[in-house]
């Protein structure tokens, strides 16, 4: 019995030595932090997730810009949806959008980089406004924080006003710096982009006076002022609508029978009324 106890003691003594495994759980495959420039660049690229991917497709189907023809989109075209239908939309807005922008913003503030902070504020305002326009009430203050698994949903109007305030702050900080970058091409400054966005969101609120003054402040004089992402033929550099329709999901999404196609094709009086309604529809929903 003594022998057993002795052997046991030895074996268990060997175990007390933590160095055998120490440090092995530090992931050698991934970084635990990244420079602000790369995160800000992601935040810009995420605009394509909103404007070219699932959010654009779903809203396009519901506003009859497109017709969902095939598979899941055919079901969606009949307005049959489940709560899971919007999961990737929500992820594009919050996890891949706002959270990353807030990380970049915090880094900008920490580094005293007010231009980067301003850019982040404008991008943040864009994401909140677009989401509020589509969904109505959404989480606004209680975001990007695991402490809020069931965040408070704040009113649509107050979210958009809050977002406009962010953009205003962003315009003041990023101001005259060029909004041309690795992702988006434009001749505009960040102030011009910010004001153009404000015009869009005031329009959504029906505040014509502020929409007008923001549009004037944006001072877009030519198409060069547009903020465009340029696509290439490199794999995964192509336009997402093209990837979706040509490479991945042929024939899911068409414009045949869409309201938009009717509008373009038709000349009768009835369509004039439709065209008026359509205008209102597009402005408040997109």
């Amino acid at each position: 019995m003594k022998k057993i106890t002795l052997f046991m003691a030895t074996a268990f003594l060997l175990l007390s030595c933590e160095s055998a495994v120490e440090g092995l759980n530090d992931n050698p495959n991934a970084y635990t932090d990244a420079p602000i420039s790369l995160i800000l660049n992601h935040s810009l690229l995420n605009l394509a997730s909103i404007a070219e991917a699932e959010p654009a497709r779903i809203t396009g189907i519901f506003t009859d810009q497109f017709t969902g023809v095939d598979r899941q989109y055919r079901t969606l075209n009949g307005y049959s949806t489940l709560s899971t239908t919007y999961e990737s939309f929500w992820e594009d807005v919050y996890q891949r959008g706002i959270s990353q922008i807030q990380i970049a913003k915090a880094k900008a503030i920490e580094g005293g980089n007010s231009v980067a902070e301003g850019q982040a504020l404008i991008l943040e305002g864009y994401h909140f406004s677009e989401a509020a326009i589509v969904f109505g009430d959404i989480p606004f203050s209680e975001v990007n924080n695991p402490e809020f698994p069931s965040p408070n949903y704040e009113g649509q109007r107050s979210v958009i006003l809050g977002a406009i305030a962010m953009i205003t702050d962003g315009v003041a900080k990023a101001g005259s710096s060029s909004a041309n970058n690795n992702v988006l091409e434009t001749s505009s400054t960040w102030a011009q982009i910010g004001n153009a966005l404000k015009a869009r969101y005031y329009l959504a609120l029906g505040d014509m006076a502020n929409a007008n003054s923001s549009a004037v402040a944006a001072n877009f004089t030519s198409a060069d002022n547009d903020w465009n992402i340029t696509h290439s033929t490199a794999n995964y550099g192509e336009n997402l609508f093209w990837q979706f329709e040509v490479e991945q999901r042929a024939d899911y999404l068409k414009i045949e029978n869409s309201y938009m196609a009717q509008l373009l094709n038709s000349t009768d009086d009835h369509t004039k009324e439709t065209r008026r309604q359509m205008k209102r529809h597009v402005t408040t929903t997109m």
């Binding site: 019995m1 060997l14 175990l15 992931n27 079901t75 929500w90 919050y94």
Partner: protein
């Protein structure tokens, strides 16, 4: 040698042609909702010979765009024969055993050569060499070295939810399209003298090979897409045993298991999905697993009635893993005869790697007490240190066996032993889930396959959607077991019964979190899962004479596997799709099937809309349980002179399965159910439409009644919520109980007369069958097949490659 066949297939209709709305159309999303084939004139198809055309690489036939589909030909059988074949497995082995005075050497070689049941590039060859030697160095020291080398070369056909998977293209192919000329030369018009060689022709909008496949032609999938794999595995395990005293021994055992695994996927130019320009993916994996086990063991008598056998040891396990991957997209040189990494411009050549190292050290003891010859008590303990946990963890176990009766031939009962045990094991958290990472990022909703890589835009990084958790604890599994073994009638009948209760606490799961928190998933010690069950087995020697013996045996198991606690999340997806999957959900069976369900009225009936079609609940629900109520087996072993016959039936009852394939075949109008023709008894409402099918009209489809009156289940219904792409997954969850003849074999032991003639010591020839018959109500596939293979998530069928049945011939000779 074994001959294999597909054991169950999905049926396809041959009544209606490609198209939609009852009109033939080669460009209609791959649907078979076209015209009735029997109503066609039967003349040759009208074609347009003024423009582009295709010359088939298999038959040499020329294909022009069809302008009038007149032919009544149906190709379901020919298309099937193109895909399946009889598989053949050959297994040879040779082994030599040599015993010297103080040593013993065993050398063996075996080769397994398999041609799969799918035509084309589906094969598997395994060569195994083994050398084991044992040496008695002195009468107290013994060494043994076991070594092996295994080389596996294989090629597989892609499966599942995959544009390049076999079943996706094969099952969806319209009945009036021949897949035979899947490859050939495309000419853009009569003036095109050169054409595009290696063009890909497929039924869906590519009938003259005008572009990459939307789905691959199955001929392309099985013959042109190449998925070679080579695994080389080397193991060596030396061991030394030193007898320190008569009742005390020291053993040191080392094991090294090293393998390299090279997997390649080659998609030639014009393949479906991303691979219009071709793609070549190469992954090199290597892993080194080492373990060292040092232990003392001995025997002592504590008193005259109590004996002790004990082991005390120390183990180190060390596992190093490495992967290097490269991808080459949009080939510069489209020639498929060479498959080269780097055959593209810079932006289209990517590399990545992954490395990990995991270690575990543990000390353990095992004490076995024998008391009065009829009570055996085992006490063991294990103290572990893991890479991912800061604390040491101790796992105890204890078991006892008590023989109540071991006796004479008197009475009914000849032996009875009671057993009880208790034990704990721990599962440490996986590596690297302690921290949140920053990763290179993309834009787009990737679930659909389309995305923009930030590398094309100056590089982008985001914080990963998975929240790391530095505070994870060990996941503990505690098991209690009771049982008995009994023998009756002079040991003729044996019967055993076991009850077990296994409780997993602090189960580590990847939980979904609302994206507004900044993450979509987090790791947590979240689940408590119980698994309680019984296992019964029996064996009965019905006859045991010199010439004839008959033995019956069987088993029965039943369990309840319940997720007792999993707060804060709707469910955790194990495998499958977010629309329908196998999940962990509080209060439900483990791996329950979860998806879109009927909206129910208070009385449980299906809620319907004003025209009688079902409404769908906004929230997904549990719609099936893949766990069986019970499983059982019954077999027999019969020896008559030199012959041996044995067989085993198995069954699983009460398990559900999601027929995802069936749902999608409904959508496409290729499932035989959708080819029924019905006569409307009354005016029948049509789904999503204000019009009706007037009474007395014959229409393609079925008549349904969800409780709100009769409705027409026709194209409108099947292509939305009546089909697999709709929201109503519940309708495709079916009972998948099965009964199988798992195995039957007949063997003949060669008599002396034959053995003498071939100078063999012993020998046997035999024939056996595996899965020869299957009874199940689940249509289209063997319910033991699963979308994600052998995984925790189960009960899912979605274009999964089929199961097999086999006939085996074998010859064994010992010289």
């Amino acid at each position: 040698m074994s001959f294999d066949e597909v054991n169950r297939e999905h049926a396809k209709q041959g009544v209606f042609g490609q198209g939609r709305g009852g009109v033939w159309n080669s460009n209609a999303s791959g649907l078979s909702w076209g015209d009735k084939i029997a109503d066609r004139s039967g003349a040759a198809n009208g074609v347009d010979q003024t423009g582009a055309y295709f010359v088939g690489g298999i038959t040499g036939d020329t294909y022009y765009p069809i302008t009038a589909k007149n032919s009544r030909e149906v190709y379901n059988d020919a298309n099937r024969e193109m895909v399946f074949r009889s598989g053949l497995t050959q297994n040879y082995g040779l082994s030599v055993n040599y015993s010297g005075e103080n040593s013993d050497t065993f050398i063996s070689y075996s080769r397994l050569d398999q041609k799969g049941v799918i035509n084309g590039l589906s094969d598997y060859v395994r060569n195994t060499f083994r050398v084991n030697t044992t040496n008695n160095l002195t009468d107290r020291i013994t060494t043994r070295i076991n070594t092996s080398f295994i080389d596996i070369k294989s090629n597989r056909i892609q499966t599942g939810s995959n544009l390049n998977g076999l079943y996706l293209g094969y099952l969806r192919t319209a009945p009036d399209f021949s897949n035979e000329d899947y490859i050939g030369t495309y000419y853009s018009g009569p003036d095109d003298a050169v054409g595009v060689p290696n063009s890909h022709r497929s039924y869906r909008a590519r009938q003259i090979g005008q572009g990459s496949g939307i789905y691959n032609n199955p001929g392309w999938t099985i013959n042109e897409i190449n998925n070679p794999n080579e695994v080389m595995r080397f193991t060596v395990s030396p061991k030394i045993e030193i007898a320190l005293q008569d009742n005390l021994k020291f053993t040191a055992r080392y094991g090294l298991d090293f393998y390299t695994d090279r997997r390649e996927n080659y998609y030639p130019v014009k393949s479906a999905g991303d691979w219009n320009g071709g793609g070549f993916y190469k992954n090199d994996y290597s892993e080194r697993i080492q373990n060292l086990n040092l232990f003392f063991n001995g025997q002592n008598s504590i008193t005259s009635d109590i004996d002790l056998t004990w082991v005390v040891g120390y183990v180190v396990e060390d596992n190093e893993y490495y992967r290097f991957s490269s991808s080459t997209n949009n080939f510069l040189n489209p020639d498929p005869s060479k498959q080269l990494v780097g055959n593209a411009v810079n932006g289209d050549i990517l590399a990545s790697e992954y490395k990990s190292r995991d270690k575990k050290t543990s000390g353990y003891y095992s004490l076995s007490f024998g008391v009065f010859d009829n009570l055996l008590i085992d006490l063991t303990g294990r103290l572990e240190r893991n890479t991912t946990l800061s604390d040491l963890n101790f796992y105890p176990s204890a078991s006892a066996g008590y023989v109540i009766k071991e006796a004479s031939n008197t009475g009914v009962l000849s032996f009875l032993k009671l057993r009880a045990s208790y034990g704990q094991v721990g599962i440490a958290p996986s590596l690297y889930i302690n921290e949140s990472n920053f990763i290179t990022s993309t834009a787009g909703s990737e679930g659909w396959g389309d995305y923009i890589d930030g590398a094309n835009y100056g590089g982008t990084v985001r914080r990963s959607a998975t929240q790391g958790n530095p505070d994870l604890k060990v996941e503990r599994v505690t098991e209690t077991e009771f049982g008995f073994d009994a023998r009756f009638f002079d040991n003729k009948l044996t019967f055993g019964a076991t009850y077990y209760n296994r409780l997993t606490t602090d189960g580590i799961l990847q939980l979904e979190t609302p994206p507004s928190t900044g993450f979509t998933e987090r790791y947590a010690n979240a689940a408590e899962i119980s698994n309680k069950g019984i296992e019964l087995d029996f064996s009965y020697n019905l006859i045991s004479d010199t010439d004839l013996s008959v033995n019956l045996f069987g088993n029965f198991t039943a369990y309840k596997n319940i997720v007792e606690s999993l707060p804060d999340v709707s469910r955790v997806l194990l495998n499958g799709f977010t629309s329908t999957g196998s999940v962990v959900k509080e209060g439900e069976s483990f791996a329950a099937i979860f998806g879109g369900a009927y909206e129910r009225n208070a009385d449980g009936s299906i809620a319907t809309d004003s025209s009688g079609f079902p409404l769908i609940d906004d929230e997904q629900q549990v719609i099936g349980d893949p766990n069986p109520d019970y499983r059982a087996g019954l077999g027999a072993n019969i020896d008559y002179k030199n012959f041996n016959l044995s067989f085993l039936f198995e069954t699983s009852q009460g398990n559900d399965m999601w027929g995802g394939t069936q749902g999608v075949l409904y959508y496409f109008g290729i499932h035989p159910d959708t080819a029924n023709e019905s006569v409307a008894p009354v005016d029948l409402p049509i789904y999503n439409s204000s019009s009706v099918i007037p009474a007395g009209t014959t229409f393609r489809g079925n008549i349904g009644d969800f409780g709100g009156g009769q409705v027409a289940l026709q194209e409108n219904w099947y292509r939305t919520n009546g089909g697999g792409f709709g929201d109503l997954d519940e309708q495709f969850v079916k009972d998948a109980s099965w009964i199988k003849l798992r195995e039957i074999s007949l063997n003949y032991t060669l008599p002396e007369s034959i053995l003498g003639a071939i100078r063999a010591k012993s020998g046997q020839v035999g024939v056996a069958g595996r899965n020869l018959f299957l009874i199940t109500d689940f249509a289209g596939v063997d319910p033991e097949v699963n979308l994600s293979g052998a995984s925790k998530g189960r009960g899912l069928d979605y274009f999964t490659n089929p199961g097999t049945k086999s006939v085996l011939l074998n010859v064994k000779l010992n010289f």
